[in-house]
């Protein structure tokens, strides 16, 4: 076996440009696949990290009726803040939020929104709620950059906001945007207006009530309270996993095309080799190889493309990966209205498992593609091969 590796290496290096062309194509597959997969992992990390920092902390408690994708359920999703949460809220380990359906009338147009109330003094989440502690004539409000963009709002914009209180009475008041924040978490940006929690509780006649609680590192987390249920971090980020899984499946087609291109080059080389190197094959047999051993030699030779490609990929790929991990990849389009947690610049994350699995997949595919045409050697007549007469 050692001899076969030695010979295969010599043959490959001796083949010169043909080998290096195959190796470069294959190494390109390695680098692109690892980079794209790294980007997906990076996106996963970034999305979860941003969701944690901006929206969900380490987990949430949801009102039993709360369903984020059902706006009609919003008005029933509120209940008094449980006593056991009071201490954690005071300690800054938990943030109560109150949600209600409403509408705004910027520039005379009506727009349905979700009114979100958040304590101005919270520091657990990155939402710049401190801005809500501004004294203005209207209700102070903050919105995300996407919301501001789609509704033509900016800092200082004033408009009427309408809601229905807990008694079912419609009410309205003027709102002033005191800050516009930029976030990658669409769920706290798109179609939402954030106002101070106490103001919202007062206006909606829901004193001391909340819909959702985000918490940080807390020790006691009962799964179910009277009106609220626990949503763990993994439950809340399952959507991100699903979305990335779906994107990854789509990317798999791209990986397959890339690998197919590289494999086509290797398959072609193998088929050509077997026809062009008949005399060499006959010589190996004459010198003491069995035909099966020659099949093995050609298979190793083909598969060694993957080994050389891995080395070449490492030479230019590692600096590229490091540069990308530091500088990130900026999407050439506006991501703010994608409706999902995606940063304009994504930073790939490479794990050992990712690299090893990619190398293994490419190596095994190369091995199969190298073996497939080489099987023909086992049926060759060595005397005819020696004369190069096999068609």
């Amino acid at each position: 076996m050692k001899i076969a590796f030695k010979l295969a290496y010599r043959n490959l290096i001796g083949a010169g440009l043909r080998t290096w062309l195959n190796v470069i194509v294959l190494s390109f597959s390695f680098v692109v696949i690892i980079w794209l997969k790294g980007l997906m992992v990076g996106w996963d990390h970034q999305a979860k990290n941003d969701m944690s920092q901006w929206q969900i902390g380490q987990g949430q408690y949801w009102h039993n009726s709360y369903e984020p994708y059902d706006p009609f359920a919003l008005n029933d999703s509120h209940a008094p803040i449980p006593d056991m949460f009071e201490e954690q809220i005071k300690a800054g380990e938990m943030v109560p939020m109150l949600y209600a359906q409403g509408s705004i009338y910027p520039e005379g147009r009506m727009k349905s929104i979700k009114i979100s109330g958040i304590p101005a003094d919270q520091t657990l989440l990155k939402i710049p709620s401190a801005s809500l502690d501004t004294v203005v004539e209207a209700i102070p409000a903050i919105v995300g950059a996407s919301m501001a963009h789609s509704s033509h709002l900016e800092k200082g914009s004033r408009f009427v906001m309408r809601w229905r209180d807990s008694k079912g009475t419609f009410d309205a008041a003027e709102v002033e945007i005191v800050d516009v924040f930029s976030t990658t978490v669409a769920q706290i940006d798109m179609g939402q207006v954030w106002i101070p929690l106490d103001v919202m509780q007062q206006k909606l006649l829901m004193p001391g009530e909340a819909s959702v609680f985000s918490f940080g590192e807390i020790s006691e987390k009962p799964a179910q309270l009277e009106n609220f249920k626990l949503k763990s971090f993994s439950e809340l980020t399952a959507e991100v996993d699903e979305m990335i899984k779906m994107k990854s499946s789509g990317q798999s087609v791209f990986y397959i095309i890339l690998i197919l291109l590289a494999m086509l080059a290797i398959f072609d080389t193998q088929v050509l080799s077997i026809f062009r190197r008949q005399k060499e094959i006959g010589t190996y047999v004459a010198l003491g190889y069995t035909r099966r051993e020659v099949v093995g030699l050609f298979t190793i030779e083909g598969a060694m493309h993957a080994v050389l490609a891995a080395v070449v990929a490492a030479i230019y790929g590692v600096p590229f990966f490091i540069w990308q991990a530091k500088s990130g990849f900026t999407l050439p389009m506006d991501t703010s209205e994608f409706g999902m947690t995606i940063a304009p610049t994504m930073y790939p994350v490479y794990s050992m498992g990712l690299i090893v699995s990619t190398v293994l997949i490419v190596f095994l595919t190369t091995l199969v593609v190298s073996y497939w045409p080489s099987r023909r050697i086992a049926k060759m007549n060595p005397t005819e091969a020696l004369r190069g007469k096999i068609q």
């Binding site: 001796g14 035909r291 005397t383």
Partner: protein
């Protein structure tokens, strides 16, 4: 296709002794190469038996046949059949790699073999950089490096000019004398025939007659 059947050899009954310098002589299609391939266990007779170094060729499985070739036989081909991407040293080293000699042993044996054929200054050259005569000398070194019991040479001078042919044949004759290696040639080249100690004339797949250099019939 179909039922086409060609008899390359018929009623051939020959025995070769140790240290012979013999040749199968005849025109194209007389069966010389077929007989050489059978002796070399690259082919098997459809009828009859061929016993090489005590082993019946027909009864050998591919692994055993490969072992016989690897350990006891050396081949020299008309078109040299050198491995083009390997250096002279690597080409000659190849049979020793298969026999699993250590690196130091291989180096010594390869250099000895190249000295026999006068090519020690070409160790790093590759076949495309060599002349036809040099290529064939490398092929001889490759065949001889493991000091085989029998060397089979198929038209070894067919691609060489007269001067190179004589040089090659003198080398082989010297090795035959010094190492007592048996040589069996397949040839129709007069230059080769002159060197043979035993000439077996084949015609249409049959042994026509034999001649011995010392008038032994």
């Amino acid at each position: 296709m179909g039922n086409n059947h060609f008899t390359a050899l018929k009623d051939v009954n020959l025995t070769f002794g140790k240290g012979e310098f013999a040749g199968l002589v005849g025109p194209s299609g007389s069966g010389k190469t077929t007989l050489l391939n059978i002796i070399g266990s690259l082919d098997t007779p459809s009828e009859g038996t061929a016993v090489v170094l005590g082993q019946s060729i027909s009864k050998l499985n591919p692994r055993q046949a490969a072992k016989l070739r690897k350990e006891n036989l050396g081949f020299i081909f008309q078109s040299y059949n050198l491995l083009a991407v390997h250096t002279v040293f690597e080409n000659v080293e190849f049979p020793l790699l298969l026999l699993k000699y250590s690196a130091s042993e291989r180096k010594k044996m390869v250099m000895d073999a190249l000295e026999w054929v006068g090519l020690t200054d070409k160790v790093k050259s590759k076949p495309p950089q060599l002349s036809g005569g040099e290529c064939q000398r490398v092929a001889i070194a490759r065949a001889m490096v493991k000091k085989p019991t029998l060397v089979l040479a198929d038209e070894p001078t067919a691609n060489l000019d007269a001067a190179n042919s004589h040089k090659i044949l003198q080398t082989m004759e010297k090795l035959n004398n010094e190492l007592k290696t048996s040589f069996v040639f397949a040839t129709h080249d007069e230059k080769v025939i002159k060197y043979l100690k035993r000439k077996i004339f084949l015609l249409d797949g049959k042994v026509d007659h034999e001649e011995w250099a010392n008038n032994k019939n």
